[in-house]
């Protein structure tokens, strides 16, 4: 009998707790949106990314939903974050820089090699581009596909496979983004580029992108260009 008498209080405390969590969650979402706007202004636009579609996509995609929960508070920090399996979600500026280079938008068909968390694919999709994404680590591929669907980017086509072969059924592509570069550029990917198509690959360690390699196809001719996301000032002694 005594235990029944405390039941209403327990229910009340539980409801209070749920309400509190809900308020906190709404506030957290609101805070994240503010952080995202600040990220775009301070880290992306201020560093020269001007493409309106890219900037709008970076403002729209909730980056904090693509990082492990433990890293959510750092989601909008100016740095890459670990996502497991030795992979990272790139620094926001690098994602924006790569997105701007491939000129995404409606009617553009883009292949991503290395889905990772799915964030880059979501940003591309948010511009209206038709996005195909391949991930070789099955666990990452499954989680990213579910996340993209859940967040409303279900139009992104994903596949758990070896990115070396590209996505021959959907080729040719206007652009290819390789988010985890290797010591060589897979020949099938170059084949799957349209004429005048371009491919971009980051070169560096997991937490430091040194350069971005831009590969361009003009008929039979393939050229590359090394782009520097952070310009280094040489020949200077410390002041």
């Amino acid at each position: 009998m005594r235990s029944l008498s405390v039941l209403p209080y327990m229910v009340f405390v539980l409801l209070l707790w749920i309400a509190l969590l809900s308020v906190c969650s709404t506030r957290a979402e609101s805070n994240r949106a503010t952080e995202r706007m600040a990220m775009v202004t301070e880290q992306i636009v201020a560093r020269g990314v001007k493409d309106p579609a890219t900037v709008a996509a970076m403002r729209a995609v909730p980056r904090h939903r693509f990082v492990p929960r433990i890293q959510a508070a750092s989601a909008y920090a100016d740095r890459p974050l670990p996502i497991g399996h030795g992979q990272t979600i790139s620094q926001p500026f690098i994602v924006a820089y790569m997105t701007e280079i491939v000129r995404p938008g409606p009617g553009r068909k883009i292949l991503e090699i290395g889905t990772g968390s799915g964030y880059q694919a979501a940003v591309l999709a948010a511009t209206g581009a038709e996005v195909y994404s391949i991930e070789i680590i099955p666990e990452l591929a499954t989680a990213a596909a579910a996340r993209l669907r859940e967040l409303g980017y279900g139009a992104v086509q994903t596949r758990a496979a070896d990115g070396y072969y590209g996505w021959a059924e959907q080729a040719p592509f206007d652009a290819i983004i390789v988010t985890a570069a290797s010591e060589f550029v897979p020949p099938p990917l170059i084949e799957q580029l349209k004429d005048a198509g371009l491919m971009i690959l980051p070169v560096g360690s997991p937490f430091f992108v040194q350069t971005l390699m831009l590969v361009q196809k003009h008929g039979e001719a393939i050229t590359s260009a090394n782009l520097m996301p952070v310009r280094f000032v040489p020949f200077r002694r410390a002041e």
Partner: protein, 799 residues
């Protein structure tokens, strides 16, 4: 002094526990180097070794109680040491399984994990060192023979650890090491009836047995090459072999391919292959099997063959044999392949008979298992082509190799390679182009200086370099390039969409036809190396790019401390460590160790009797000995690794001889009672100065001797100094026991702390001032100890 049965038992126990701790240290180094990275291994182990210092502090604080209860405590401490040896790794994994050193600069929580892991790993050293320190403190009058047992045990522990690593996986060794202190406990308890001690022993035996059956290991960092490869679907380990020089893994996966720096024009297939790892770091992939095309021919590695036929080829650091296969395929009549890793060729031949095995079996290939530098110094043949190993790695190496010695990329090594070239011979070396550009510029500078030192008046006429999207290959020719050869380089570059970077008669517009650089600094720097701007460039460039020498063979160390602030401003605190982490971690380790050591050294001062407060002499004497010994050991290891040609065994020889020699020296002090610490310490300083002056030229002159001759000479050079170096510590401790007995454990702790700090600082000093000066500085540390003796002599004689 009468020697009792108890003394004999204690000597045996000392030797056994000392051997166990040293063998464990060697195993731990490989375990952490495999699961994380080498410089983090040094960091973690340094902190763990502070257990010796902590033991000294504890002993100093509780000396009377511990000495009173020594008979009960010693077996318990040894049992605890055994239990900690057997269980520390297992506990580390269970409690902090997710530790990842690469995340240290990303997640502040990782730093706490690192400290916790280091503290857990400190436990065996703390327990073992407490036992050793207690024996020293309780029997300070017999310190000579006790120190002998301690040093001899350590001297035996070193080869024991290496033999263990050659036969077993490193994670299997700690429980085996635990059996030594268990045996020591058994020896101490023989004939005794103390139930608490027997219970402790029983528990330790149980734990060791469990650990033997279920050995633990630290988890592999998710960012290690091996870990990332094993994450690939279908990845299988096709060979795994323990080796003292680093355990070898061969892993195959359907998605694993290799075509380092292949041209963007390459349209052929890139078949799946197997990759080879040493201590978890990828060293290369297996060469193609017969019938498979080799994409290496479509990379800048093919430049020397585009220049003409090479009949006699020397491949240094042959690794997985890709360069050897290419040389054979391009018509070489004879290839000499030199590789220092003792087991690599054997393991690869067995696990990949179709690809690597055929290279071993080919009569045109001579595999030499020795250090390439030793081979270069002793070989008298000439070659049409000498191929050096790659400089740098894809995507940069984030400074992970900043503290790795690269003896093949020094001025002296390049000079020797140049001497091995036939009259029309070529030297070829490939580098990854990093950004900010450092590796290929330092390499080009080294090649230009090699030519200048060889008396070449126009170095530009002797160098050709071709750049792809990621690599650059340099070819240096003994004679100036002819017009036809220059044309061949141009044709090769055009065929594969490469750009000539250095070539006689090269026009500026030719250098970026296929692979454009947004930042042209690299090409400007290359140009500047060929004229009087070179020295200015060395001084003014943000990174160190001047050629390195044998005395400071850290080719991948580019960081200038004075540029740190500017770099931090440009890249940010969290990014910079991924640009140049090696030296930063070493610097951080030294700071942490100095702080911890200072705390451990100062703490006992609060409890020491007021009459003993003037302990600065003790501090200087035993601190000087600790630092001086470590600096000497590391400087000598460097010299003899190069001299003997087998890095692992040379290191074992130097450590083994040093410790055994010191043990002999220590034993002698027990027989020669009138020896004065100051004089013998001064003799050590003099011996070290003599070594600093004469050792290098003697070793250079005797390098052509056979291995047995060189080992004999090494023993002759090392042993006398080691014997003398073993005397100052027991002499000082015995004197201290007469004058200030309360300070004995403190002095021992100081010595332990300073040894660890000394080892950490030695690496930084070697990078900054070189190994020769390190030996002089070691002599300086001994002179500091001498100075403290002289000031001690006047006031403090026993009454």
């Amino acid at each position: 002094m009468r020697v009792t049965g108890r003394d004999y038992r204690r000597h045996c126990a000392l030797a056994l526990v000392s051997a166990a701790l040293l063998a464990f240290q060697i195993a731990l180094l490989q375990i952490i180097a495999t699961s994380q990275w080498h410089h983090f291994a040094a960091f973690v182990i340094s902190i763990a070794l502070l257990g010796f210092g902590a033991a000294g502090t504890l002993l100093a604080l509780t000396r009377n109680w511990m000495v009173t209860h020594q008979d009960q405590l010693l077996p318990l401490l040894l049992s605890a040491c055994a239990a900690a040896l057997a269980g520390a790794l297992w506990l580390t994994r269970a409690l902090f399984g997710g530790f990842d050193s690469l995340l240290l600069f990303v997640d502040p929580g990782e730093l706490l994990r690192l400290v916790a892991v280091a503290c857990l790993l400190m436990l065996p050293f703390l327990c073992g060192a407490l036992a050793i320190g207690l024996i020293f403190t309780a029997g300070a009058e017999r310190i000579g023979s006790y120190y002998f047992a301690n040093m001899l045990g350590s001297g035996i522990g070193c080869p024991l650890g290496l033999v263990g690593l050659s036969l077993l996986l490193p994670q299997q060794l700690p429980p085996l090491c635990a059996m030594l202190p268990l045996a020591a406990t058994g020896i101490l308890l023989a004939g005794e009836r103390r139930s608490a001690n027997h219970l402790g022993l029983l528990l330790a035996v149980g734990l060791t047995s469990v650990a033997l059956l279920h050995p633990a290991q630290l988890p592999l960092s998710q960012y290690k090459d091996l870990s990332r490869t094993l994450d690939l679907p279908g990845a299988t380990i096709i060979a795994r072999h323990p080796a003292a020089a680093g355990q070898v893994h061969v892993v195959a996966a359907p998605g694993l391919r290799s075509a380092t720096g292949v041209s963007l024009n390459w349209s052929g297939p890139l078949p799946s292959t197997a990759a080879v790892f040493v201590n978890g770091d990828m060293v290369g992939s297996l060469p193609p099997t017969p019938g498979q095309v080799d994409p290496r021919d479509a990379s800048t590695y093919a430049l020397p063959y585009a220049l003409g036929m090479s009949h006699e080829v020397l491949v240094l650091d042959a690794g997985t044999g890709s360069a050897v296969l290419q040389a054979l395929a391009r018509g070489a009549a004879r290839v000499v392949a030199v590789e220092s890793h003792g087991l690599l060729a054997e393991v690869l031949a067995a696990s990949a008979p179709e690809s690597f095995g055929r290279l071993i079996a080919d009569p045109a290939v001579a595999w030499q298992q020795t250090a390439p530098r030793t081979w270069l110094a002793r070989d008298r043949q000439s070659y049409d082509l000498v191929i050096l190993p790659d400089a740098g790695s894809f995507g940069g190496n984030a400074g992970l190799f900043a503290l790795h010695e690269q003896p093949l990329l020094t001025r002296e090594a390049l000079g020797q390679a140049w001497q091995r070239l036939s009259p029309e011979g070529l030297l070829a070396i490939t580098a990854w182009v990093d950004y900010p550009v450092r590796t290929p510029v330092r390499l080009a500078a080294s090649l230009v200086e090699m030519l200048v030192n060889a008396g070449v008046s126009d170095p530009a006429a002797h160098i050709a370099a071709v750049r792809s999207w990621g690599t650059i290959t340099f070819c240096v020719k003994r004679t100036p390039f002819k017009a036809a050869e220059v044309q061949r380089v141009r044709a090769f570059a055009t065929r594969w969409s490469f750009d000539p970077a250095l070539l006689p008669g090269l026009q500026a517009e030719e250098r970026q036809t296929h692979n454009r650089l947004q930042d042209g600094t690299f090409l400007t720097l290359l140009e500047a190396l060929f004229d009087e701007r070179r020295t200015t460039l060395y001084n003014d460039y943000a990174f160190r790019i001047q050629p390195v020498s044998d005395d400071r063979p850290f080719f991948a160390q580019f960081l200038r401390w004075y540029r740190l602030e500017a770099m931090l401003a440009l890249y940010g605190q969290r990014t910079l460590p991924f640009l140049e982490s090696g030296l930063l971690v070493a610097g951080l380790a030294a700071l942490v160790l100095v702080f911890l050591a200072t705390v451990l050294i100062l703490l006992p001062l609060t409890r020491l009797p007021s009459t003993t407060r003037r302990g600065w002499r003790t501090l200087l004497y035993f601190g000087g000995l600790g630092i001086g010994y470590m600096w000497t050991e590391l400087a000598l290891i460097h010299r003899f690794v190069f001299y003997l040609g087998q890095p692992v065994y040379a290191t074992a020889l130097v450590i083994g001889v040093m410790l055994t020699g010191s043990a002999i020296g220590s034993a002698l002090t027990g027989r020669l009672k009138r020896l004065r610490p100051g004089r013998w310490t001064a003799l050590v300083a003099a011996a070290l100065l003599l070594h600093a002056l004469l050792l290098a030229p003697i070793l250079q002159a005797t390098l052509p001797l056979a291995l047995q001759g060189r080992i004999t000479l090494a023993l002759l050079a090392l042993l006398p100094a080691a014997v003398v170096m073993g005397m100052p510590f027991p002499l000082g401790l015995r004197l201290l026991n007469r004058e200030q007995p309360a300070q004995v454990p403190w002095a021992w702790g100081i010595n332990g702390c300073c040894s660890v700090v000394g080892a950490a600082m030695a690496t930084l000093l070697a990078v900054e001032v070189g190994y020769s000066l390190l030996l002089v500085l070691a002599a300086g540390a001994y002179l500091v100890a001498v100075a403290s003796c002289n000031s001690r002599a006047a006031p403090a004689r026993p009454r």
